[in-house]
């Protein structure tokens, strides 16, 4: 659960929200504001009309003992017309706000998503996934409330306050001052109670976070609780946290709940005070206040306090929404992956003289198109899969280097394996090749080109990755395989599945290749998911493959079958393999043994065994002559 930080500058955030909202809806928003004002005025006319009705029509008629109702009828018709305008305006602004609100939200979501897709991997490492999700759900939702409710209501209430205040001050100045004083009292109590309520809401949020975390941990380990019969203890611990949450929720809501009656009754008292003071003024003929004027003033007084309460409540909601808005903008302002690459990957065909020429159609031959600005020429380099690390240093944080002076070279078609304990830096190295992260020092060259010069998209297109954590997407099995190459035919996808040895289990699924996977392929076993992600990489058909523990959840027998397919897949491609099973890495051309971010041994299997170092020790379980 994230902490609710105080918003630095609410007004700045608010103006950004409004700007964001109005940029596409300038005209609509203008219409909305005009309509809100018109509707509010119509409403006020309605309130004041009552007094006109009594003073100008009913009383004279009553005094005359009956009379002409046609004047009244005419006045009522006039009123009806004004009301009608108010109703139409109300509908118009409500209806337009639907489009403005929802349209803004759609744009907001789309912008957030598009921006999120551009963020570097680092962002996802440093921000909890739950927090990112919460931006889309909770924070966007608070903005929805802000846009569709708080903003129109605040405008509405402001118009009312201004109109009523004008009415009051023109009627009588001293009474207006009295009313204002009472509003001051009201605002004061409100800020006092609101502060208390806010404090407890903060505490409630914190307690909710604690309970949330506790549930997450305990329910995640529920099976362990079961086998250890630890249910009682876990209930006890939960009860304690739960009760703390109850108390803070109770307090927070209590203070929020009592705000309304307090305000309403301060309003009532204000009414009485004005009646008494006004009565004294009018009866003693101090100033110009007439009895009719006093009655009118009292009505205005009633309509004065209500919108003020509303504004203060809305302001509260707006300030709270600003915290959400700030998080939305924080995501939207997060720095995107920089890509200064200019070398592109293009389809090519080989000319008889051995040079390459760019073509449109898929030839199976790829080339790096390297424009040289200085000379204004373009050179083509054949994509082969030659990868060189030259003294590479890297750290996830500038000050904490996790890879030190890594040197390696993979010639096209070689199989390079990485072994070492958890945290030795195996996965990190592979994540540098495709530029998930940028290195601090040294150079990585791909077919002789510094990878910083290659467009990231093209670089990644040329690399196939099967990751340690398999992720599948909602959609059919076929869609998931085709994710590797969107224009692959069904036949190609099935061929890839066969290569990955996934075909047999897919056929046994209820709808075969059309079986819909949901929730990250939750209905498949870990091993089956790995087979699918291998098929996905196979269909992409990239010149360089990175397999990060790609077969770790597949049993040894199935793996040996997959291995045959993989060997076929890897044939002629440069492959980087991370694995803890020897069967997977034994036939590698070069095995790198990593320890604490350094390559401590390198060579093929036979060489490393004869060296009797770390590799030998890990492999045989015996301590070699190198010792440890």
């Amino acid at each position: 659960m994230k902490e609710r930080k105080r918003v630095e500058n609410p007004m700045k955030v608010l103006s950004r929200v409004i700007k964001y909202m109005t940029v596409n809806y300038k005209f609509s928003f203008l219409v909305v504001v005009v309509c809100i004002i018109t509707a509010a005025i119509a409403n006020l006319v309605g309130i004041t009309f009552m007094q006109t009705l009594i003073d100008d029509y009913i009383l004279p008629m009553a005094q005359n003992g009956g009379g002409d109702f046609s004047a009244l009828a005419e006045a009522l018709l006039r009123m009806a017309a004004i009301f009608l305008v108010g109703i139409v305006c109300s509908y118009v602004y409500n209806r337009i706000m639907v489009n403005v609100g929802q349209g803004t939200l759609k744009r907001l979501r789309d912008d957030l998503f598009v921006h999120m897709e551009k963020l570097p991997i680092k962002y996802f490492d440093t921000n909890a996934h739950g927090d990112i999700m919460s931006v889309y759900t909770n924070d966007v939702d608070t903005l929805r409330q802000l846009i569709s409710m708080s903003i129109p209501q605040t405008i509405n209430s402001c118009v009312s306050v201004v109109c009523v205040f004008t009415g009051m001050i023109t009627t009588n100045v001293p009474l207006t001052i009295l009313s204002l004083a009472m509003v001051g009292v009201m605002l004061f109590t409100m800020s006092k109670i609101g502060g208390k309520s806010g404090m407890y809401f903060g505490r409630q949020q914190k307690d909710l976070g604690t309970v949330n975390g506790f549930i997450e941990e305990m329910i995640g380990g529920q099976k362990v609780i079961k086998v250890f019969c630890h249910e009682e203890q876990s209930i006890e611990a939960f009860k304690k946290l739960n009760d703390e949450l109850r108390i803070s929720a109770d307090n927070a809501n209590k203070y929020a709940n009592i705000m309304m009656p307090i305000n309403a009754n301060i309003g009532n008292i204000s009414y009485v005070l004005c009646a008494i003071a006004g009565g004294l003024l009018a009866l003693n003929h101090v100033g110009t206040l007439t009895l009719g004027g006093l009655v009118a003033f009292l009505t205005l007084n009633k309509s004065f306090t209500q919108p003020i309460t509303q504004i203060s409540q809305q302001l509260n909601a707006i300030v709270m929404a600003m915290a959400g808005a700030q998080r939305v903008f924080a995501l939207m302002d997060a720095e995107v992956e920089v890509d200064n690459g200019y070398v592109e990957l293009v389809n090519a065909k080989e000319l008889p003289d051995g040079t390459l020429e760019e073509t449109k159609e898929r030839t199976g031959i790829w080339a790096w198109k390297h424009p040289h600005q200085a000379q204004g020429t373009v050179t083509y380099t054949k994509l082969q899969g030659d990868v060189v690390f030259d003294d590479v240093d890297f750290g996830y944080h500038e000050d904490k280097i996790v890879l030190h002076g890594v040197k390696l070279f993979a010639t096209p078609g070689q199989k390079i394996a990485f072994v070492g304990s958890t945290g030795a830096g195996k996965t990190t190295i592979t994540n540098l090749i495709n530029r998930f992260y940028d290195i601090q020092d040294g150079k990585i060259r791909y077919d002789g080109i510094n990878i910083n010069k290659i467009k990231k998209d093209d670089l990644r297109h040329s690399l196939g990755m099967v990751l340690q954590d398999t992720h599948l997407f909602t959609g059919t099995v076929m869609d998931n395989i085709r994710y590797g190459r969107l224009d692959a035919t069904d036949e190609e996808c099935i061929a890839a599945a066969k290569l990955a040895n996934a075909h047999s289990f897919i056929k046994r699924l209820p709808d075969g290749y059309q079986t819909v996977l949901t929730g990250d392929g939750g209905n498949l076993s870990q091993g089956q998911r790995q087979l699918l992600s291998i098929a996905r990489a196979a269909v992409a058909d990239p010149p360089v493959l990175i397999l990060d523990e790609a077969t770790s959840s597949i049993d040894t027998r199935t793996e040996s079958l997959v291995q045959q397919g993989m060997d076929r897949l890897m044939n002629g491609r440069t492959t980087f393999v991370i694995a803890h099973r020897l069967s997977t890495i034994r036939n590698a051309d070069c095995i790198m043994v990593l320890e604490q971010g350094r390559i401590i041994e390198r060579g093929n299997h036979e060489q490393l065994i004869s060296e009797q170092g770390k590799y030998y020790q890990l492999y045989t379980g015996k301590t070699g002559k190198a010792g440890n």
Binding site: I58, F113, E216, I219, H230, F238, K254, M465, R586, T620
Partner: protein, 581 residues
């Protein structure tokens, strides 16, 4: 469903009743105040009598004070009752989840249960608070305002009856039409969130395949559909306000017209006319509130349903009558056992398993992914019930034992094991609450965990973070084994529990087991031949059936599958896991 939820009010019944009671009293005051206002105007100001103004003014202040007190009390009790209900709901759900069997747990996702206990409960809490404050208040306001109106002028009140009828009809229509579309909106919204979730967790795949544009397009389409539906739903709701205004203004005009006639004819005073105007506002406001409550109820119905599901979920395993409290020994017998996770689906995970294990034996279990190894082990401590046949432990059917007794005697180290946040010592004591530090250390020695624990600066007081993220996979597995050993069980089941431990340490653990706990029956599930080859007997499972059950030597001679696994693994070398410690 509502009954199940309301049952959880329990000790907050008093608050739940007091809150509407005070709300009702507050309404009485609020209804009387406009009447007093009318008196101030009629008798005081227009009558030119300042004493009357004082008198009614004081009346009004007193009433305002009462109204304030009642309002505050209603609010206080409402907060008390609703947060209490929320607390009880969470507690009951949590307690019931603790009673869940493995089969029950499999049914729900962790994220799903968390949402139910947090977001859904908060929805119910808000709805309940609103209902006990307003559900009584609004109808009460409606009725008392009506009474006041009839009291003042019954013929004029007919205007309201027509208006209320009109408004109620329209509001119902709007709510009903909107809810239908909103249902679809919520579904789309869930789908959209799921797609974000998917992209957040699979961002590496998206980036590795350069599928950002593809995902943007997918998302844009989904958010476009959400937009269309939301606009459709909210356009219906947009009628709400204008209809409301239409009714109010209609009433004002009608009231003015007829009211004028009554006043002129002397059947009514102007003050009474003014208070009629206030009452009509109250009546229409309470109708509006009722429609809001209706919407809120419908919206929280989904949450209530999800909570009820958890509350009413019956644990699929229960103790029999007079359960056995002791386990005689570590014998295990499978008598023609068939087992399926989904009963009646025809997919049997285990088929007709019939085998017998003597107390103190070490049994290796090996086989491909999905062959039923873990399922086999899970039946011994009755984490699931068999469909056919029976499982005996210590000579008695597992269903005859008290589950807690059985599980304390059959220690399982699960494949997907978890450490909890707390010190190493605290984690170890899950196995035995009152274990002394020496006992814990001894268990760690047996599990070869002491060698790395002693290298930590704080040793046994090292704090394990949530999910055990600050220890390596192999270290975690050894801590989990030590934790299970502390139970001092008669049967120990290791479900692939040394997969991340390097070969040498794995062998060392097995050697210590042989020396220190020879009397315990040990079931060792593994992928590696080396982990099981020195067991007394090895069970080879294939597609849920016993393919072979014999010693390593015999299996090598007779069992084709075993031979194949052996071949693959020795040819390729053993397993090559993380380095020890």
């Amino acid at each position: 469903m509502i009954k199940t939820i309301l049952k959880q009010v329990r000790q907050y019944k008093k608050a739940s009743l007091l809150s509407p009671l005070f709300a009702a009293l507050e309404v009485v005051m609020e209804v009387l105040i406009p009447y007093i206002t009318a008196q101030i105007i009629d008798q005081g100001i227009e009558g030119g009598d300042i004493n009357k103004v004082y008198f009614y003014g004081i009346c009004m202040v007193v009433m305002a004070m009462f109204s304030l007190t009642f309002g505050v009390l209603a609010g206080k009790y409402a907060a008390n009752a609703s947060s209490g209900l929320a607390c009880n709901l969470r507690e009951s759900m949590y307690e019931n989840i603790q009673r869940f069997s493995f089969a029950n747990i499999d049914k729900y996702s962790t994220a799903g249960l968390i949402t139910r206990m947090t977001t859904d409960v908060t929805n119910i809490q808000n709805a309940y608070q609103m209902i006990i404050r307003i559900a009584v208040r609004a109808p009460f306001m409606l009725v008392s305002s009506m009474i006041m109106c009839f009291f003042i002028q019954h013929r004029l009140s007919m205007v309201f009856v027509v208006a209320i009828f009109f408004l109620a009809m329209i509001l119902m229509l709007i709510v009903q039409m909107a809810m239908k579309v909103f249902d679809k909106v919520f579904k789309k919204y869930d789908g959209l969130n799921a797609s974000v979730q998917e992209n957040v967790s699979a961002i590496r795949v998206v980036k590795a395949y350069v599928r950002e544009d593809h995902e943007n397009e997918k998302f844009g389409k989904a958010s476009g559909e959400l937009y269309d539906l939301s606009v459709k739903a909210e356009s219906i709701v947009a009628f709400n306000n204008p209809v409301m205004m239409l009714t109010i203004y209609g009433c004002i005009i009608a009231l003015s017209w007829f009211g004028a006639h009554f006043v002129v004819n002397g059947e009514m005073t102007t003050g009474e006319l003014t208070s009629m105007f206030s009452y009509i506002m109250s009546i229409l406001m309470s109708l509006m509130m009722l429609s809001m409550i209706f919407v809120m109820l419908t919206m929280s119905a989904a949450s209530a349903k999800r909570i009820t599901e958890v509350l009413t979920e019956e644990p699929s395993l229960t103790n029999g009558a007079n359960p056995l409290k002791t386990v005689a020994n570590g014998d295990i017998d499978f008598n023609h056992v068939s087992f399926s996770y989904r009963e009646g689906s025809g997919e049997e995970t285990l088929k007709d398993i019939d085998l017998h294990i003597k107390s103190g034996e070490t049994i290796g279990i090996i086989g491909g992914t999905g062959c039923g190894k873990s399922s086999f082990a899970n039946l011994v401590s009755r984490l699931y019930d068999v469909q056919k046949g029976s499982v005996f432990v210590g000579g008695r059917d597992v269903r005859d034992y008290d589950m807690e007794v059985l599980r304390n005697q059959v220690a399982v180290v699960l494949q997907k094991n978890v450490l909890f946040s707390g010190t190493i010592l605290e984690n170890l004591r899950w196995g035995k609450e009152d274990a002394s530090e020496e006992e814990c250390m001894e268990a760690c020695r047996q599990a070869c965990a002491d060698e790395f624990i002693t290298r930590f600066p704080k040793q046994y007081d090292t704090y394990i973070e949530q999910g055990g993220n600050n220890v390596s996979g192999g270290q975690k597995q050894r801590l989990c084994i030590a934790r299970a050993l502390l139970k001092n069980p008669k049967i120990l089941i290791l479900d692939d529990s040394t997969s991340a431990v390097d070969t040498a340490t794995d062998a060392k653990i097995r050697k210590t087991f042989k020396e220190t706990i020879p009397g315990i029956t040990k079931l060792i599930i593994a992928q590696r031949i080396s982990s099981v080859q020195d067991a007394d007997r090895i069970l080879v499972l294939e597609n849920g059936e016993v393919n072979g059950f014999d010693t390593h030597e015999n299996l090598l001679k007779t069992n084709a599958i075993y031979q194949e696994i052996y071949e693959v693994q020795t040819k390729g070398g053993g397993d090559f896991d993380e380095q020890a410690g």
